[in-house]
């Protein structure tokens, strides 16, 4: 299996993941949002799935894709040794990120 960074090199795949970060989506949904040909979306999703970035569940003819955390964690772990170059107060940063995450979750509830 290719390394997570190899997978993330492709802009359309990053765009797909960013959309899925908000919510589960069907292939057609992604196709519309990104203005990409359907086979292209399916192919990227296959690569993302095989690399563990996403997971599909079946809903009639549709496939609903959602994020899986493992490969992201690997990327995050690889990044760790470099954080000291820009994050002198790591715990302050964590608090900040937690706050941002909480806000986005609250927003989602309103739908």
């Amino acid at each position: 299996m290719p390394a997570p960074f190899t997978i993330l090199a492709e802009p359309s795949r990053r765009a797909i993941l960013t959309l899925l970060a908000t919510s589960e989506r069907s292939v057609g949904d992604l196709e519309q949002q990104l203005r990409l040909p359907q086979p292209s979306v399916s192919k990227h999703l296959r690569i993302l799935r095989e690399a563990g970035f996403v997971q599909a569940r079946v809903d009639a003819q549709r496939r609903l894709y959602r994020i899986r955390p493992e490969p992201f964690m690997q990327v995050d772990a690889w990044l760790a040794p470099f954080r000291r170059f820009w994050a002198p107060h790591l715990d302050a940063l964590e608090r900040h990120l937690d706050r941002v995450e909480s806000q986005s979750r609250r927003r989602r509830k309103q739908r």
Copy 2:
């Protein structure tokens, strides 16, 4: 300039950066540590330099390379929206709102 993720897709470049995370190093130093041909190291360093990942300073005939934080920060920022999928600091409210996702996470944990 290519996106940071494009640069990081190459394994030798990630290896170079990981070595530089510890300390500043010369080209020959990297060449030895990684058992790569010298032109290969120089070429990767050029790409890393042009993408802002590293910076060189001159010491006689040698070039000493060191990490620059900016592109790493960009990667870290891109990763932010995905942290909620594995970040352990979930308070009660967030657990409630994320019920569906929590179920899939629990299933995966069992493996």
